[in-house]
Symmetry: C2
Subunit: 186 residues, 2 copies
Amino acid sequence: MAIATQPQLTLDDFLKSPETEPASDFINGEIIQKPMPQGEHSLLQATLCETINGIARSKKIAYALPELRCTFGGASIVPDVAMFCWDRIPKTSSGRIANRVEIHPDWVIEILSPDQKLKKVLSKLLHCSRNGTELGWLINPEDESVLEIFPGQRVELYEAANKLPILEGIELELTVEQIFGWLSLS
Amino acid sequence: MAIATQPQLTLDDFLKSPETEPASDFINGEIIQKPMPQGEHSLLQATLCETINGIARSKKIAYALPELRCTFGGASIVPDVAMFCWDRIPKTSSGRIANRVEIHPDWVIEILSPDQKLKKVLSKLLHCSRNGTELGWLINPEDESVLEIFPGQRVELYEAANKLPILEGIELELTVEQIFGWLSLS
């Protein structure tokens, strides 16, 4: 007996549909809208881009970009921060940054929002890891930890005064408490 | 200038202190009391032990035990489920199960409770992985997923109809939805 199934949305269909606000990810055949960013999320996202770019952009080592749609490996995702090594930044023939990014970032950072499903965020990071992303960070403001994902989907958990492993070639030293320290405005 | 620090509690000090209810873990020099078990947690813990033992205990392959204190690698933890391959079950000279377990389990299962810090649970599972545990499961009832931790701290995320990798030698087939299906009593 044939079982009636809903026609599955394809990546092409998804890419043709209008962008939403906040952006939506298309992963494992499913559309998942990102949560509306809140204070902590927004501050961490901005400060991470600033900090990484402060060290890597002027020397043309790498570029960290917030909310950039990246389509690769059968999914189309919008990481909180996507970092590309300089040579891998997708460019147009005139040397400007391309609007469509169809390669994996080298480093992906996700910041867990309250009420955001851990599974959805982890599944984005594992998709990146499986498709060539060297380093993934899952920042959890709730318990002040950072879970890093290395090649081969190996994970390590960092907290407090732990120094966070950074992509090779980027001379950045950051501890977990430094990152969460940014949240204190006093 | 000398900085005054609190004397750090040692593993020996911890092991001499009375057990708490719920049990406490001693890990990374810190005492962390487990959350008071709730309905879902309790049912999953019991049914997992039952299911694993139903297949592995009668054939003397392995034994799954709930709330067993295991002291190894400088920590003393009480996994929700600790499973030992038959030959590794700690025994007294008369062949009874030993009361003090000073080796790592072969398979450790943790069930995330509401409000439990993800960091604490992950850090227990990674401690096990680093110290020889072949397989770790982090069951998250909230988003109905299972994160498995393999040797080398490699992780993989499972959901819905995904078949869950099991320790070799245990002939068990389980999908993620089967596990969460146990929670429906109708």
